[in-house]
Symmetry: C2
Subunit: 329 residues, 2 copies
């Protein structure tokens, strides 16, 4: 089922206004939720919206809260999200990082006490749309066992690296688990198996069954020991730089709240060399012969743009059950 | 066979002095090569030294060259490595990034026209030993097919993230391939199979045979499509920020020379919160029950320190064949 983008946006906004979001905040949050579905990240668009509403009702997300500065030195700043909406805090901090990078070549903002920022890529697109390289990551509740262990002690700590480009930004948006929790839930909901092993089942065997992996709480980090190490250092960076909660601390509560995030922006030289080397890298990558006949090679973000275009032309794909649920909110 | 650290270092230095390295440059290069083997990264210590010597003899690595500044704005600088020894260029640039971070909270140095920096982790340890968070990466010759393709078009672009810590720095040092080329060669040389699939063979089947993977030139990126995307964006960042050669350009020559690298440093707050949250994260990670009886969970860099200690006490482990080769140089 497809819904016009504007309809999705206005429904989200209606509900947020009822939850005492100001006009401006409701508009901005609703837009990002709608954009996430528009770009094909359904798990953090419409599908996540009812959970977000629930978090607001529980008082875990505070619509009134504004980020306040907690520290700063040169091109590095610390901010406190005061448990406000994750989307607004993250968007604010990426904007600060953009300003710092414009003034200093590079800028870094670390944010503590924030909430789930939904789709990580949102803030990469934000930086790249402003003409800057954007790098950001967040810690999460523990949902991934460290390499050699069975109990989840690491977050899947999504990492984004975005590069501005005239013909479409390059935006890598990846969780450190082979499949994000949202993706596992999506496969489970659709009754589908994973195309590649996504973790271990309760018996410690590699499994393509999303239900078995979710139940065992043993999702697989990318690259086995490498992703495990990467997740740990991203949590260290986020917690140390923001002076905020670690995955360990966030996991003490059952619900994910009070996360730590980092936003880095770098100003690239906007010259011909930059434009040419980007195209050189993309076209060289695409020159690899395809593994399967008729197959093609994409750069990160390329399919996002295709999905976006289709969504804007034909409407945004929605899960009917969830859409009905949202209409009734 | 084990050799005292000082002996390894002095042999390397003797050879470099014969190649017209100055006393100071020979000392610094020899030390890093010896340290790489001391820390257990044999592939980029002793084992790589004869290749380095060969590159110097071929004129690909220029002992006389010094890095020169190519640009700069605020806390972001560009440098030209002028094809000097990769170790010296990288060490110089990480030092500049440290100085920039001390002055601005965060600093970034992008380096073009450099040579192989040997062990990536060296520069992470350098930043962390100076009390700073260090992030660095390099592009390489194409040695990894992009996701969906069969011909190598991406580098394995090693990435380092280092966090300073009183009881031993946390240093993640990982190539984007599941196994680095050096590691695959090491397994091959020892006649061993890989513990996990490291790529595809010529028939397109996942394989644990290092020889088959090397021959097919189809090493596996970590996390399949995710590592493929990560490698591409790291190449973009390195080439755009340094205005240097991309993996595409480097691969035009048969030998790997003229690479691009990025060095980022961030100054963490040196307070109790920082020290405590680091220990909290490490001890929480280690609290996961081990998968195998008697197994243990390590943080990145932990085993490096153990190997270092043993090397300094009992001598550095060397491959006798390569050691004899080096003695004869």
């Amino acid at each position: 089922m497809r819904i016009p983008f504007a309809k999705l946006q206005s429904e989200f906004k209606r509900i947020l206004l009822n939850l005492n979001f100001t006009e401006d905040k409701a508009e901005r949050c609703a837009t990002v939720f709608a954009e996430n579905s528009r770009d094909g990240v359904y798990t953090h668009g419409l599908n996540r919206f009812p959970v977000f509403v629930d978090f607001v009702k529980q008082g875990l997300v505070k619509p009134d809260a504004e980020p306040t500065q907690a520290g700063g030195f040169g091109a590095l700043e610390q901010w406190n999200g005061n448990l406000g909406p994750g989307i607004l805090n993250a968007s604010f901090c990426m904007n600060r990082a953009i300003e710092l990078a414009k003034a200093n070549g590079i800028g870094c903002v670390a944010l503590k006490n924030t909430n789930h920022w939904m789709r990580a890529g949102t803030y990469g697109w934000q930086a790249a749309d402003a003409g800057l390289i954007g790098i950001c990551f967040t810690n999460t509740i523990a949902n991934l066992p460290p390499w050699g262990g069975v109990d989840p002690r690491l977050g899947n700590n999504p990492l984004v690296i975005a590069v501005p480009r005239a013909d479409g930004n390059v935006v890598l948006d990846m969780a450190i688990s082979q499949y994000s929790v949202g993706k596992l839930q999506q496969y489970k909901m659709n009754g589908e198996q994973l195309p590649l092993p996504g973790g271990y089942d309760k018996d410690g065997k590699l499994s393509n069954d999303p239900t078995a992996v979710l139940e065992a709480k043993r999702a697989l980090p990318i690259g086995f020991w490498k992703g495990s190490g990467l997740s740990l250092v991203l949590d260290l960076l986020a917690s140390v730089l923001s002076q905020g909660n670690s995955t360990a601390k966030i996991t003490q509560n059952e619900t994910e709240s009070g996360a730590s995030q980092v936003f880095i922006c770098i100003k690239p030289q906007g010259n011909n060399y930059t434009a040419n080397v980007i195209e050189e890298i993309i076209s060289y990558t695409k020159s690899s012969r395809a593994e399967k006949e008729g197959g093609s090679i994409s750069y990160p973000g390329e399919n996002t743009l295709k999905t976006r275009e289709k969504s804007l032309e034909e409407g945004v794909l929605v899960d009917e059950r969830i859409w009905e649920k949202v209409l009734a909110l």
